[in-house]
């Protein structure tokens, strides 16, 4: 009977679906075909059993699919929830029906509605004997619950039982649930069984058990620490799938601590070798590539293990080289592996040969038309330039193409790369570009990031004061509200202190250029608050310092600012203090002073302001108006913002006054912590501040001045006459008035502005100071050479033109490239010279001897043993399973080539080519000269211009030869690598 009804119902459902399809189809033939196909599929599905759903569910899905608006969808879903709530609690629901309800609940929750009323039923369903229902239950609970949910405790027992099941599918379902639902407290309940399952006969179970153990380790490393050795064991599992799964936990473990796993390097290398040689079953191939995901994971692990470890790295060189050679660059996954190889190469101890291959791979990526590959190329380039900054040079034009690409993701990645390779020689171009980009985007997250990067680069590498001020202006104008407020304080401090040199002329030049640029933009109504604060402060402090602008002009501007931003108290506070400073400086300089009428108006307005801070400033200003020049000079010394102020915290200068008052019968002061009675009262009043407003007001009024600087209020307001005889404390208002942006914590903000110690160092870099002028001139001269064609400098243009016959890139781009990449315009020339590599090597060793020595120094310094270890290890140690496809001789030849190269460079070819080079054009020489200061600068920055390093790196040559000889001897002796190794992984670990 039931069978019959089921059948009937399903027939009805097919009719129904076909009728529903109707309105959607446009009556065209194809649509009908599609419809038929759908029906056929649904029929097939019905016969599939497990995954078919009822008409009601399909109805729901359809009606939601056809909903025109979110509210309509919500209505449908809410209705569905009502139905489910009612039905799910009915007694004696058939289990099959219940299963469907649960699926519907999952669906509802995916649409973003609360399905928690049904969680308990999902939990109940996991207890069911039927596998179908049990699986549905597990699926639902893993989606519904998190590991700390209260209902978990009801499931743990079921999981325990299911882990012991004879049916491996039940075990798999339980392990799936383990990964998601078991938390630290419940781990002990299942851990024993999971560990046992690692030895299960079915590989699917073993695989999942490994993952379950891994997830336990992620949750609570301490509770499974004693079981970590299992991962090592599972690495030699007979099933490649289990081995592949084991790589996941091992990767995480190695990422935490490399050292305990150093011994596995050989095993990983061996596995990778076997995978790459297609020793895995054919079914693991994906797009003709053997087990690519396992290869990628292995490469990631090797990158961790080889980082900073020469011995481990050397074991990896051959296999990485092999994979890169074999990799299929036509397919996506082949490129994924290639990229991972490049990442690995950039992470392990550098091998010159591999670096070259990596550079080639990057070139391929960047030249590709696919945006995905370009993106990967840029990413890879960013990694590789850390080891060898010269690589970027070859790809300068490709990088610029990416920069101008409409693809935003690619653009961002490229900016990241530029950020990494910024030097003082290219900072102007890069920061300009970044600012342009920053202006063009709307996303505030990236805007903030780009802005802070601009600031960072500008602070580190600024070539001139003027440029720095201009750059900061641009950043503030366009992203002022987004940058960290500290940056604004940094800027103020910088302008006040200069560059940390004792060059007063440069400092005042910086200040006057800042003042000038600020006066130009101050009328812009859309300036962000933080920037206006800086402007006001600088105008107040230095506006009249160089005598270029009259006090009344500056005051007028400041009044305008205060007026234009009448809603922003902080800006007004800055403005009024600046006005006060301008007035004081004028007066103490002995010039005739008179307040502008608008200034007077402003003062009157602020004296009645709601903000007590503004009010106080206005009153202070008024008090100063009545003082004579001598007193004013004491209050506001000229350009004293950087001088330390000694704060007399004990207020000893008031002793006399206090003494007098006490004698006259005043009550002595009791510190706050000692007057318990009043403290209680203040507590009560704080609790209900609206009941006794008068009281609470009084309490605050007494406490605030105590927290800030007590003198600030008392002398200025109540005892104006005492200002003169007590110069130190009366100076106080000047300082604290500047940054009262953080009103309330007066002393704190003074600290912020005056004691930013980190910045000083950034700016005081010796490299910068020496290079400031040279690098700018450098760029200028480079520009002229690039612009050669347009300038009357005929000699240059003539000598250049025949040497670049196929220049398809626009001049503008080349210019950009030249300025970005250290201004080396040599690229087209190098292209010309046939053997690009050789040439570049020569020019590098001649021009940039120290430059090149830098990466090699690292190698030699860290690990003194000669590199022949590599070759011997290759043929004797790891050779056991090394097949004949790889010819170690080839590798050695490569090494030998290199060593010869090294010799050649130092002995014969170097000078020879060099003479050619310099003879060819004056341009080349010109460049050399230009680059020299750059080089010096680099040395300075690295602090180790050690010429002996170079020779050390070159002595490598002979020892490599030795290695070759040794290897040849070994071969003669008949120790050949055995080729076949039938057991895949079991023999790797012994």
């Amino acid at each position: 009977m039931l069978l019959l009804t089921l059948l009937l119902r399903s027939v009805g459902f097919y009719f129904f679906t076909s009728s529903i399809q109707n309105p959607e189809s446009n009556n065209s033939y194809t649509a009908k075909l599609e419809q038929l196909k759908t029906i056929g599929r649904e029929l097939a599905m019905g016969s599939q059993g497990g995954f078919g759903q009822s008409k009601e569910f399909l109805d729901l899905v359809k009606s939601i699919g056809e909903a025109r608006s979110k509210s309509e969808e919500d209505r449908i879903v809410l209705h569905e929830i009502e139905t489910l709530k009612r039905r799910i609690n009915e007694p004696d629901i058939p289990k099959r029906k219940m299963k469907e309800y649960i699926i519907r609940l999952v669906y509802i929750e995916m649409l973003g509605h609360d399905a928690s009323f049904g969680y308990i039923h999902a939990v109940k369903m996991t207890h069911d004997d039927s596998l179908l229902l049990k699986r549905t239950g597990y699926l639902a609970v893993t989606l519904f619950l998190n590991e700390d949910h209260d209902l978990i405790i009801l499931i743990v027992n079921t999981i325990q039982k299911d882990l012991k099941s004879d049916n491996f599918l039940v075990v798999c379902a339980a392990l799936n649930a383990c990964c998601k639902l078991i938390n630290e407290e419940t781990i002990p309940a299942v851990i024993q069984q999971v560990v046992e399952l690692l030895g299960h006969q079915k590989e699917a179970v073993r695989k999942k058990a490994v993952m379950a153990l891994h997830s336990f380790h992620q949750r609570s490393p301490s509770s499974v620490n004693h079981l970590i050795s299992n991962f090592r064991k599972k690495l030699s599992d007979n099933d490649p799938g289990v081995m592949g799964a084991t790589l996941c936990p091992l990767y995480d473990l190695i990422a935490i601590d490399v050292n305990p796993y150093k011994d596995l390097v050989a095993s990983f290398v061996n596995i990778l070798k076997q995978v790459a040689e297609r020793r895995l079953p054919k079914s693991y191939d994906y797009h003709q590539t053997p087990a690519p995901f396992i290869q990628i994971k292995l490469l990631k692990i090797m990158a961790l293990l080889g980082s900073g470890d020469k011995k481990s790295s050397e074991q990896m060189y051959t296999v990485i080289g092999d994979i890169m050679r074999k990799s299929d660059t036509a397919s996506n996954i082949g490129n994924a592996i290639l990229f991972e190889c490049v990442c690995c190469i950039s992470s392990i101890q550098p091998s010159p040969k591999l670096l070259e291959t990596a550079a080639d791979a990057i070139a391929k990526f960047l030249k590709s038309d696919s945006h995905n590959l370009k993106y990967m190329g840029i990413d890879a380039l960013g990694r590789l330039i850390r080891i060898n900054p010269d690589i970027a040079e070859q790809h300068q034009l490709a990088v610029i193409d990416c920069l101008e690409d409409p693809d935003d993701t690619l653009k961002r990645k490229t900016f990241e790369l530029l950020y990494k390779m910024t030097k003082s020689s290219n900072v102007e171009v890069i920061v300009d570009r970044m600012i342009d980009y920053m202006i063009s985007i709307n996303d505030s997250h990236y805007k903030t990031e780009t802005a802070s990067r601009c600031v960072e680069l500008a602070e580190q590498f600024a070539p001139s004061n003027h440029w720095f001020i201009q750059t900061m202006n641009k950043v503030f104008q366009h992203a002022g509200d987004l940058v960290n407020p500290k940056v604004a304080h940094n800027l103020m401090r910088l302008i006040a202190e200069g560059f940390g040199e004792d060059d007063d002329a440069a400092d005042s030049q910086l200040r006057s250029s800042a003042v000038e640029s600020y006066l130009k933009i101050v009328d812009d109504p859309k300036l962000p608050s933080a920037f206006l604060q800086v402007i006001c402060w600088v105008l107040g402090e230095y506006g009249t310092a160089d005598g270029k602008y009259s006090a009344s002009y500056i005051s007028g501007k400041l009044c305008d600012v205060a007026e234009a931003h009448s809603s922003d108290d902080i800006i007004r506070a800055y403005a009024v203090t600046a006005l006060m400073k301008v007035y004081c400086f004028e007066k103490s300089a002995g010039r005739k002073t008179s307040l502008l009428p608008e200034c007077q108006l402003l003062l009157e307005e602020l004296s009645a302001s709601h903000s007590s801070d503004l009010q106080q400033r206005a009153y202070e200003f008024r008090a100063i108006l009545d003082l004579d020049a001598n007193a004013v000079e004491n209050i506001m010394p000229l350009d004293a913002s950087c001088e330390d102020i000694e704060i007399d915290k004990s207020l000893s200068f008031l002793d006399n006054y206090v003494h007098k008052s006490l004698e006259q019968g005043a009550e002595p002061y009791i510190p706050e912590n000692e007057r318990s009675g009043t403290l209680n009262i203040s507590n009560i009043i704080n609790r209900n501040p609206y009941e006794h407003p008068a009281h609470s007001l009084r309490f605050e009024a007494y406490e605030v001045p105590k927290l800030v600087v007590p003198t600030k209020l008392s002398p200025a307001v109540t005892y104006p006459t005492e200002l003169v005889p007590v110069p130190e404390p009366s100076y106080q208002p000047t300082v604290s008035s500047g940054p009262v942006s953080d009103a309330g914590s007066g002393s704190g903000s003074t600290e912020l502005r005056l004691r930013l110690d980190g910045v000083q160092k950034k700016w005081g870099k010796p490299a910068y100071s020496s290079a400031a002028s040279s690098s700018t001139s450098n760029i200028d001269s480079q520009r002229t050479t690039v612009n050669g064609a347009t300038q009357p400098d005929n000699v240059t243009s003539k000598s250049r033109e025949p040497r670049q016959p196929h220049v398809e890139v626009s001049e503008e781009k080349q210019k950009l490239a030249a300025s970005l990449f250290g201004g080396r315009t040599a690229r087209p020339e190098r292209k010309q010279s046939g053997s690009a590599a050789g040439h570049s090597k020569v020019s590098r060793t001649t021009n940039h001897g120290e430059d090149k020595a830098q990466p090699t120094t690292v190698t030699t310094a860290v690990q003194p043993p000669p590199p022949d270890l590599l070759d011997l290890g290759e043929s004797s140690g790891a050779a056991s399973s090394y097949s004949s496809t790889v010819d170690p001789f080839k590798q050695l030849e490569g090494l030998l080539d290199l060593s010869q190269d090294g010799h050649a460079v130092t002995t014969t070819t170097g000078p020879d080519l060099m003479s050619l080079y310099s003879g060819a054009s004056t341009n080349g020489q010109n460049q050399n000269q230009n680059l020299n200061p750059l080089l010096n600068e680099k040395d300075n920055m690295n602090g180790a211009p050690n010429p002996s390093n170079r020779t050390a790196s070159l002595t490598k040559g002979p020892s490599l030869k030795d290695a070759l000889d040794k290897d040849a001897l070994v071969r003669q002796m008949g120790v050949n690598p055995t080729s076949q190794n039938p057991n895949l992984f079991s023999d790797l670990l012994g």
């Binding site: 039931l2 599929r41 039927s130 596998l131 993952m211 799938g241 993106y375 409409p406």
Partner: protein, 165 residues
Amino acid sequence: MIRAMIVINNQGKPRLSKFYNYTPVEQQQQLIRSIYSVLCLQPENVSNFLEGSSILGPDSRLVYKLFATLYFVFVFDSSENELAMFDLIQVYVETLEKCFSNVCELDIVLNYSKMHTILDEMILGGQVVETNSEKVMQAVEEISKLEKVTAATKLISKSASLLWG
């Protein structure tokens, strides 16, 4: 690790979502919406990767691929390779293709729990466990065969009990 797998259609309706770190439902919806709003603005012929730190938190990337009407999206962190994730989408879709032959959005809507089963075979706890689509298929088929058997026996015993009970 992989943080989430999401399938959205080109109208922004989620078709499948799985988060490997616990994420409250509202947050899931928020994420799906913001991901969709980014995806639907992507012009053609750009890379399939997105830096996700503005919508998905620090150190997160996103790879998507559009198949007919569906966006397949993986969200993951820096420990995964973008291109490999891109191919993982391919593996998943290839597996679906093998399951349904000529897979379309309707299949995915109608076989909600099967989609999850396939995904669970491939990714476990945010780690890729199996990328061999044959093996995944094998496992899924074994499950559905078993479920069919249990379902059938249930039905028979049910109808029997109805007849004679």
